[in-house]
Each structure stands twice: as C-alpha cells, then as structure tokens.
C-alpha cells in the first residue's frame, strides 16, 4: 500500500499543490486567495514545499509591481500523484 505524504497531507499544502497541478504557474496572491490565508502562512507552506523540492518560485515585475510566481516541480507532481493514489486506496472501501 502506498503511503500518504505527510508534507502535502496538510489541507493547506494539499490545496496549494492541487491548485498548482491545474496550471503551469500561479501567482502568490492568487494562491493566497485560493487558500484564504495570510501572506505569512502561505509563505511558510511554500517554503516547506520548496525545501522538499515540490515547488519552485521566481520573482517577477509586472507593470511596476513585484510578483512571485509559484510552479509545481516534476518531483512535486509525482509526490501529489503518489499521495492521491494512497488516498484513493484509503477511501476505496468507504461508502
């Protein structure tokens, strides 16, 4: 049986990686709105995921405004797939 990934099992982090899995890149502010959390909370989650190599961030400037873009790395995508497979196994017998 596949094991749940504790790093992305937390609801907020799971939301981050699932949101990123549907796009190529997402802006920090967009993620913050999606999760409905503060900048500092999201920043901590992103840092934890980045340390594990699951996400990558880059700074950018658009129309004079500094922006941060977050991308899900191939390792993060693989980790998400494995985690989802484990979840599916877990819920398979639940009505």
């Amino acid at each position: 049986m596949q094991r749940l990934d504790p790093l992305i099992h937390a609801p907020a982090r799971l939301q981050v990686v699932t949101t990123l899995s549907a796009v190529s890149e997402a802006e920090f502010v967009t993620l913050r709105t999606a999760l409905d959390v503060s900048d500092s909370v999201l920043s901590k989650h992103i840092s934890a995921l980045a340390e594990a190599g699951y996400v990558r961030s880059r700074k950018s400037v658009h129309a004079g405004r500094r922006t941060t873009w977050i991308t899900l790395t191939p390792a993060g995508r693989a980790a998400l797939r494995a985690h989802v497979a484990a979840l599916r196994e877990l819920i398979a017998d639940v009505d």
Partner: protein, 164 residues
C-alpha cells in the same frame, strides 16, 4: 470568501481547488467544475493577448488576468499546435497557395474561412478538454521552447529574405 479589495471578483478560486481536488482523488469531475476555468479567463481570452488589454482597462482587471499561466492554453489555443488545428491549417494553406497560383481567388477565400473555422474549433476542443481535466491538459510548450521556435522562425524568414 474574498476579504481583500483587490481579490474581489475572483469567486472561482475556491471552486477551482475543490474541482481539482475531487478530480484528482475521485478520478472524475464533481461539484463545481463548471466554475473552472474562471469566468474572466473565458471572457478575456489567453493571457498573452489579454495583457495589453489589461493595461488599458486598469488595475483590477490586470490583477485578475495575471493570476495564473497555463502553457497548454498558449500552445494549443494561441499557437494552434493541436493536431486538428495543425492538420486543417496545413491543408487549407496548401489549397490556398495552389489556388492563388491558379488565380482561383474564391478558393483562397474559402480556404481561409475553413482554416480559421478549424483553428477555432480546435481551440474550443482543447478548452472543453481542459475544463474536464485541467491537470492533464494544463501542460504545453514551455516559454523556452517557444523562444527557440520563434528564433528558428525568424532565422528562416531571414534566409528567405536573403535568398529572394
């Protein structure tokens, strides 16, 4: 849900997360998948073309448009790299070129219309597929690959101009 003034008008975010999560875990779209892609993306067209538009329309619009980047949208819809778009484009371009050499101008017009329609249908096809399965369809040609292709295209144009 939105509590920040600049985030108003983005009610699609939470449904997006729920839709993607349910799609991943359950293997089928459930719940609020109709809200993904967001309404603004549907209305405004692809991000690369929407960017100049956003400058003209002011800050709130710009904030909404630049929230995400989807490579699949750029390559499949804007550049028409899908199988259907490529096939129709090549066929109609060939037909139009041949008709132009033979001065059959009505065929050129018809080929242009068919080519454009096929291109639009291909974009629509990808869009629907993306709405059903955003995780699988989000990927596309990377910006680096696009830059290389653009450089090759410019090089080809220069060679054509020099040899003509």
């Amino acid at each position: 849900m939105p509590h920040d003034p600049e985030d108003r008008g983005r009610p699609w975010l939470q449904p997006t997360v729920r839709a993607t999560s349910s799609r991943l875990v359950c293997g089928c779209p459930r719940g609020s998948t109709r809200r993904w892609p967001p309404r603004w993306l549907s209305r405004s067209g692809p991000p690369p073309t929407a960017s100049p538009l956003s400058r003209a329309r002011g800050s709130p619009w710009r904030r909404q448009i630049n929230g995400v980047r989807v490579d699949g949208l750029t390559s499949q819809v804007v550049l028409g790299t899908g199988t259907l778009a490529t096939g129709i484009y090549v066929c109609t371009f060939g037909a139009a070129t041949r008709a132009a050499f033979e001065s059959q101008w009505w065929i050129v017009v018809a080929a242009a219309v068919v080519g454009g329609t096929g291109y639009a249908l291909s974009a629509r096809q990808w869009w629907r597929a993306y709405q059903q399965d955003p995780v699988e369809r989000a990927g596309g040609v990377s910006p680096r690959a696009l830059a290389v292709l653009a450089a090759v295209a410019c090089l080809g144009l220069v060679v054509l101009l020099v040899n003509s």
